[in-house]
Symmetry: D3
Subunit: 233 residues, 6 copies
């Protein structure tokens, strides 16, 4: 059985990097990784999100129509782009990396802090946080100022993120750090070691949750907000 | 100067019906009406919303690139489909009919009730309500069970909506009714007369607000969450 | 048809200044401006508010009993002094400049900041904000320290307000500024130009909304919290 | 030393009835009872409240200027009419009977229910409840439909209130009853006996708190929202 | 590596029943089951909880001092008895079955309903729900009226719970059911089949999460609220 | 009649110090002071709290079984350790010093600040604050960094607390200070004089409230969350 992990943006290198950071996970199911080539190369703001959600749904419909559809889906963008819509068009569970990381953080800390990329993403994440109910468990959502694609690489980016994270943890008395972009996934162990608080990477957590949901036979409710789409007259 | 009113679904008859219900408005600006022909014929749930938002953005980009771009936009779906994304891609104000009706209701009542179409839309509207901050001013969001396109017409539909509205107003001690779908726009005066509380139709209110925003020279902030989209590398 | 704009304090020069800042609005209705000569000369705190509300109601009752009562009322104090009581004693819509500005800000920004006069007014405005539901859309309410009547005039006052506004916008990552006193109305364009984010002046917004409500035939609900006053035995 | 208990309405018989219900309280200070003869005879809604607050402040100013000003004040209207303004104009503590009863209820129950007089008062009390922070501790605010002055007397009124209270306690799984009008004060023991849950009467609780605050030397803060009124230029 | 699942009450048969319902889970780690023999036989209310928490901590300290301490802990009482204290005294992650079920429900539904045992437990669970942030995702917490130990067995109990669950799901428009007691664990599949919405059993979910947290190397933060206990002077 | 004041920790000197600070209170009832010798010497964090709550219940049961049980109980730890459980096992009212101080603060200020001992206690107090409903009335909970037992004595400790309190009051625009530990009780007058805002000490306030509740015959509800413990089969 397989878990489909879909990066809603078009960056194959980002998909690869996230995949690499998940190699050491113990899973009962196979993972398959996808990106959405018609999407923007990175999701930075609402309009990128609308386009990416559109192509994400296309990808999920295509997988659902395949011979052996996935048993679970992970949406590998911290904005949880298209999450609710995805839950309408499949019976398998769908997990966003943002919700996975933020919920998990509430199991190991009293007040986590989220470090994302650009200031423009902050209000998107705050709204998700509010919808998930975790506002009171979060000391704040902050942006390092580094765009998504700059995270793939170098030492300089790492230093900016580590330094920004330390500052906001201290200023907000936070006791855990949530990485607010899939592109930071490869830094999780290094950051945890440097900063001294739990560091949560949504990619690995969401996949682990998806693996567990398959074992638990947990599926999305189909009676109200996530019912199958209406047939139009 | 013009206000562009965009119905994000593909139903031209619904556009026409909304337009008809706005004939008696006093406005300083001209209105232009559009629908999105590649969208679903009605927006019922999250996945319809993702598709409609995608085509709505296309339409706005096209109007922005026209010789005389609109001075304001109205999104004529009560879900406020694509509202935040739209605000990124234009400097003109963008107003959703859902937010317009619900905010306006809070000026004339202590506790309004929203009557929408299908149960599946309730959680979408509740989330918007929460984002707009109006949860404590709303006695509840309820569905009549009638799909969007059935609203265009007949006496039977009217009776279902009127009866459902009366019931939830009483059960929730509501003092105003918000029509939770653009397709109910043509019933506003009749319902108000039958039910005896203010009835708020987002289509007419949003256009009136858009007209006023133009006079006030109020434009969307471009410094954070609604900044112009990033240029990708 | 007329909109009555009532300044609940006794300062005629403040009424004149607000009126001057509204000259360029496009309206369908005539405006008439009033102050309350028996009120304190400025409303700074709760007890000033109680007195001003008392005299405001007197003025509204008097206008209601005139030959041609106004079709809408605007209460031109940012505390929205006496707003709910006013809605009981007239069938015409009543709009406060505070609520108008703060609701409007939520249409053009993700997180606005309010700059008012004295620290003592902050908790009054925070409570209004909470009642309107906009707490999560507001980065904070701050006081410049300048009393109401000092705003009428000079360059020095302007500099204090502009500087305070810039600081709190930055500290709170705000993307719009709401002017927290009718006396700042004349600075709206200058501040917007100097600060680079939308600046919202409740006086002009409330009048524009009142003008629109007349066109929409929107009236206050008379069935519960805003019902006509009881006849006493 | 004295506690001034001020009924903000004009009904002397209501004052007398409240006073009678307080005869068995053990207090360290003397009580003095007042009403506001220029006020409406009962406070039912916002505009009654504005007038009553105005006359309440007059009364407090007069007492403050007397030879031996009171050491504490109780505002004997469940709406807590003029409470914040009163706190500005005296250094002595001021306690509203509504806040006293609702806070006290949170010490002896998990979820109290409020039974008030007319539907129009519900939204006023809900707003106070929200300001006091007790929304989550309250199962709901309900109206018996009986106007304030009808509570003074007869068996029939008692039956209406008792029956309404029982119903809303059951429907809301409440475990305590708060009497939402000073006029119900004389029923507290009888209701408690008939209904079987704690019944809280704000008049007696507020006076007891005032008595304790004098012993504790607790006074209202004078540095921000409750600072002494500004001297006008 | 092992996961310790501790039933904080003294009922061995309840432990056995929960264990039986977990036989078909796919896990990477071994499970070890414990109860607390000095605790009450069931946890029904606050004082039972205080005693059970005390003995739970004893058990955890004993396991921490064993040769091979567990890699994760599950607290198998839906009240999440002693959860925060447990997180102080071990470096391994600790998961409550209540929090696990309610968080998981928010991944597969828009509005879940909790069905617990006795009315007295409702306020305890509501407070947990509020702390976890999931109030807005929960349609309500209800009690079947059946005490904990009566759940172990018979057909009659099943019918009471199934019927109560169906009623509250309908009345609250819920789309998922959370089993509010570990003792209902063995009914999860049968209920799901009978009721037609996802049914969430915290025991199995918490163990699955614990298994995943071990794989993710997620540990409790030790810098603030969950820091190791202070050494007393 | 007596009020039992129980210090849930084992420190007799702390009990004595609190007792000394209450000498000048005017009360109608006698006070009796206790500590819990089997508890930790100070309560700093969740696991200390679990142990202290266990021994607190033992003490209350013992007093309940004495010849003349107390008429009211005060729990003299600012965490309100075991408060809800205590309310189950006695019919007399039980008041925590934390809740007493924080509720009282909301009667004399618009925004109080809490100064406690160690950072680890902050999240405990924030959760209590949230349960009591007073989040919006509190500018923040802060720790001086001084452990509980260091508060008993010297000038240096006083300076640390006074300085920390001044700073957070200013930074949060607070207008009252709540002492977040019973061990600070003896500083209340000195701090109030030095800082210039009302300073609230829960020990004295809770005892005064308990004294008043006895006069009011206010007892804990016994119908739902605080019902007498279940008899186990």
């Amino acid at each position: 059985m397989t878990i489909a992990i879909i990066n809603p943006n078009a960056s194959h290198s980002m998909t690869q990097q996230m995949q690499a950071s998940c190699l050491n996970l113990s899973l009962h199911n196979e993972t398959r990784w996808y990106e959405c080539l018609a999407s923007p190369v990175s999701i930075e703001g609402h309009s990128d999100g609308v386009e990416a959600a559109y192509h994400l749904l296309e990808k999920i419909r295509q997988l659902e129509n395949s011979d052996v559809p996935p048993k679970a889906y992970v949406i590998a963008c911290f904005d949880d782009t298209g999450l609710d819509a995805a839950r309408e068009i499949t019976a398998s569970p769908v997990i966003g990396i943002g919700e996975a990381a933020m919920h998990a953080a509430s199991f190991v800390s009293q007040s986590f802090v989220v470090m994302t990329t650009l200031e423009r993403s902050v209000s998107i994440l705050e709204r998700n946080l509010s919808h998930y109910g975790l506002v009171n468990r979060c000391g704040g959502v902050y942006a390092s100022g580094l765009p998504v694609l700059s995270l793939e690489s170098n030492e300089e980016s790492y230093d900016v993120v580590r330094s920004a994270a330390s500052n906001v943890l201290q200023a907000n008395r936070g006791d855990a750090l949530v990485l607010g972009c899939g592109g930071m996934s490869h830094w999780v162990e290094r950051l945890q070691s440097d900063i001294g608080v739990p560091v949560l990477d949504g990619v690995r957590i969401a996949i682990t949750f998806a693996d567990g949901f398959i074992s638990l036979k947990l599926a999305t409710s189909k009676v109200a907000g996530y019912a199958w789409p209406e047939t139009k007259a």
